[in-house]
């Protein structure tokens, strides 16, 4: 696809037509592209269908049956019950609660993680010159640690007489019982998830910042723009695609949040930190496979809907 700069619309149409003719004139290339393209894609397609699409369709089928753990030795020996599982879900107060928990969690965590990652990236990219590698690795470490060990440590820190509350005491705030109070358990998990996720966002924004042309920034500073102004008016607009990418990634990830509540609070207190994924996991634990899968599908639909929504909303802004 040669990019030719053309002046008028007619010229453009003519150019396109010419390209089209060029295309059609080399059917060999097209044809070769057809079969060869398939061959290139084949290894991926095979694995993808076998271990991705296949199980996805199977679980869709499962959610229309009444399969429980008693059926594991004979999976096809179940009754098809149509939308019964979904109907039951909508009457399940724990399901709605976990839905609410998940949405609250996402609404809080996504902006905070984005902000933290962006702040870190900007400071590391612009604010300092030395020790960048050290800081990058340091801030990225929460991302790569095992949640099992980290959870234990965080629980210690969040105890009513733990470090966090001691620190708050020094500035005169009486810290709550973070993990046992239904009002603060979820915010505590949000804080922990932000801590874990900001490293990833930092890396993504660092990459995005590298794409911001230095000349524009220099021009801005020559014009007398302070760091804040140049950030707001120059850097941020350039970062919009990165912002979209980061937001979508985070949202998809956080909607599935599982390990943090599972390891930190077990979903408590009083199910105030039970995310939808944890709800599904619990159902599997009770042996209610079809029921859990139905809930998992609801989660999937939500993820897809939100991702599409974000695309539409955030993308149109840049157009």
């Amino acid at each position: 696809m040669t990019s030719t700069v053309v002046a008028t619309a007619t010229d453009r149409r003519a150019a396109r037509a010419a390209e089209g003719r060029l295309r059609r004139r080399s059917p060999r290339r097209r044809g070769r592209g057809g079969l060869i393209g398939l061959l290139f894609a084949l290894p991926f397609i095979l694995v993808f269908i076998a271990f991705g699409v296949g199980p996805l369709l199977a679980s869709a089928a499962m959610s229309f049956t009444d399969m429980t753990v008693s059926d594991i030795r004979n999976p096809l020996g179940v009754d098809v019950v149509g939308f019964d599982q979904f109907a039951q879900l909508f009457h399940d107060r724990l399901f709605w609660q976990s839905l609410g928990v998940t949405m609250t969690f996402v609404l809080l965590s996504v902006p905070l993680t984005l902000a933290a990652g962006l702040a870190l990236a900007v400071v590391l990219d612009r604010g300092i010159r030395r020790f960048r590698a050290l800081f990058r690795v340091g801030f990225y470490t929460p991302v790569i640690t095992s949640i099992v060990a980290v959870a234990v440590v965080w629980r210690y820190l969040l105890q009513p007489d733990g470090i966090v509350n001691s620190a708050l005491e020094t500035i005169g705030i009486v810290g709550p019982n973070w993990l046992n109070d239904t009002r603060t358990a979820l915010p505590a998990l949000v804080a922990m998830s932000v801590w874990r996720g900001m490293g990833n966002m930092m890396i993504i924004f660092l990459a995005g910042l590298q794409a911001v042309p230095r000349e524009t920034l220099e021009a801005a500073s020559v014009d007398g723009a302070g760091p804040w102004r140049s950030f707001w008016s120059v850097t941020l607009p350039q970062l919009r695609p990165t912002m979209l990418l980061a937001t979508v990634i985070l949202t998809i990830g956080f909607l599935q949040i599982f390990e943090e509540p599972f390891v930190m609070t077990g979903g408590g207190p009083l199910a105030s930190t039970t995310s939808l994924s944890l709800f599904v996991y619990n159902q599997f634990g009770y042996g209610k496979y079809a029921y859990g899968t139905a809930a998992a599908y609801v989660l999937f639909v939500i993820i897809a809907a939100l991702a599409v929504l974000q695309f539409r909303v955030l993308r149109s802004k840049e157009n």
Partner: protein, 457 residues
Amino acid sequence: MVTSVTAGSQHSIPATDDGAQRKDNGVFQRRHTHRITGLVTLGLTATLVLAGCGRADDPGMDVEVGAIDSTPAVGDIEIWAAGDFGVQAADLFSAFEAVNDAVDVVVTDVPWTEINSKVTNAIAAGTVPDLVLIGDVSQLIPTGGIQPVPHGVVEDGAVYENALKRSQNQNGVQYGMPWYVEARMLWYHTKIAQAAGVQAPTTWDEQTAFLQKLGEVDGVDWAVGMPVGHASFAYQAIMPFFAQAGGSALTPDGTAWDLGSEAMVKALAYYKSFFDLGLANPDASTDNAVQTFVSGQVAATFQGSYLAAVLDQAVKVDGFSAATFTADVRPAGAVNNAAYLGGATWVVPTGSKNADSAWKLVKWLQEAPQQVSMFQITNNLPSLTSTWTDPAVATDAFMKAGIAQMSNTVSDVPVPTWSQVLAVIDAESEKVVRGGTTPEDAAATIQQRAEAIGLGW
């Protein structure tokens, strides 16, 4: 769940692709048709698969119970053992191999939290071992994945009855053989009790007074450790109180839940009183439950005899003896002093390739000499009641208390849906403690939800 940096959740946005755009305009109609064809194919496939489904008519619970003979065991026996006693008891299994030299025993330890899902997965995959040491058997029975205990493994009445009941189905067919048992007793610091000048309590009221006095001693933050909520297994505290007040989880014919009775209200009210009177910390974490007891910040706790081994390790400097800690049978409620019964049970999966030899191993393990050896190695009370009078087992004050407690125990309710119902009990009891509901309403809610969940047979 694979974390957010996964192969599942990252993607970059396709930049506006002019080529694709142009192609789209030209082939829009075709793509639409493709999509519809695709969906129809998918729908047809799914329908075909679903059409192949269907439950066979339930043949009923007629179960064939086999028998074992006296020929020696042969072949490989693969064991999965919950906890860490499998490897500890390696010598015991070696002794079996010495007696039956055509046998090879391989033991893998699995944590308690994982054993049930591992076994379930293995049943689904057909990769079951020959013998499993497990806690909760009831959920496995309806899968058909474990076999009933054949005749001839133990004599009638030789094994502790309450433990046997844990692995029976609704018709009394035995599916597991208990290996060891333990009941949760009342443990407390001897010196603190002496300082408070109190004797071991025998009734609920005495228990409250006892704990109040303990709490007043210098250095004690909380009189007793009480679990709250699902993460701390609160039901293990509630069910004993419920039984002590005369409650029974199932109706006498075993066909329905009976969790909303007056006994449950009393149990919940008594449980709540521990927190209202400041005797127990409602925000205690399971992370340091043992630590705070060892250090004396928490004066008393309800644990089984396994605590002895933990204390021994933790209190190496002062030494661990009756001078430091006391374990007593639980105080009684209105009806009895039932304690929560734990322990481990042997089951043989249906797909085991060497089931016969596995049961022979179990039979050998259940004989008195081996049960005593097991105790000496692992410090767990054998399920064979005849060993309880053996001085080799009733060695010290702690074991004697544990044996005495055996006369009254309450175990997990042996129905497949118990894990769901206990979650309800955990949740409602937590609400009672944190002030969201009253014992009466909580009891009613528990019964209502349990009824909706059913028994699972």
